[in-house]
Symmetry: C2
Amino acid sequence: MYPGSLARLIENLRKLPGVGEKTAERYAFSIAKMKEEDVVAFVNALNDVKDHLGHCKVCGNISDQEMCPLCSDLSRDHRLIFVVESPKDVIAMEKTGQFHGVYHVLNGLVSPSKGIMPEDINLDSLIDRAADVDEVILATSTTMDGETTAMYLGKVLKEKYPELPVSRIAHGLPTGGLLDYADEMTLSHALSDRRRIN
Amino acid sequence: MYPGSLARLIENLRKLPGVGEKTAERYAFSIAKMKEEDVVAFVNALNDVKDHLGHCKVCGNISDQEMCPLCSDLSRDHRLIFVVESPKDVIAMEKTGQFHGVYHVLNGLVSPSKGIMPEDINLDSLIDRAADVDEVILATSTTMDGETTAMYLGKVLKEKYPELPVSRIAHGLPTGGLLDYADEMTLSHALSDRRRIN
């Protein structure tokens, strides 16, 4: 029904999250109408992300550099680690302006039902980092997988470092809520109300 | 806040219709996680559309070739022209399976309030094509600009070809409705109930 080039673009746009046929068609038609320089900029941006975007060797956050700006920032408190599921959660937390420690990005959650085990996410390096800090704050979402991951991490950290304070971000988030959709006040409260795990 | 390459991708994704900051971020993160070959396919599809997608020299529909497959199809009735605003409307109509003539795509609507005049859309070549046909069906949407365009076209065609039957697609569509969002039954009825203009 569509010219081949447009059909292939629609097919690729459908790989974006939440994009169905109608939406992919609308996007493709709008791209077909774009000025050539706008499509070139789009292509360059995609290539840049593919070629240069990687993970910070310390915290696992997405980064254009070997070490991300947050981990390189000596003015931050490197003895306080805030553990999150994804890079989006780091952005959400930074927007509150309430946290001055550093992050650890798991890039996933432990989920036995989906076959995702602790060794499949960026978890081992957190155990190493935790050897020399004042506190680890577990800030995975309040979903089932988020709680499972926090419980698992709390247990492992307690076993390895019995003296280390490990806390869980407060349940200020509605149950089932995703961290990066929460507003800044909710996140701020969730940080200040964090409770120690046993 | 974001690595530069990701920020630029978000900026480009925001140019898609209806895409705000949150959605662009979600898309960008999903692209950052894609397999390299998927990003390459996406880039190739964008380049293909930029390099090969143009307009059919006869009807103005988007096409990879100089003449689109519908205009090249000799089994269709080339003496019956269905005039629409955009390529999406052609797809919507073809899905009904009820029309066997050819199309004319205006790629826009006359809209004096937006400063879009008859000479700004693909209209002149329709006047030429209409010299040798049995009927022209005006099927612009039932929006204000769609009605304005149909009225203008009806007048111009009547003046130039007083004997030519010119019809307007029936108001089976809800007023203010966009043609390419209508279901197939509504479009089929709108075709069969078309009424002659004066």
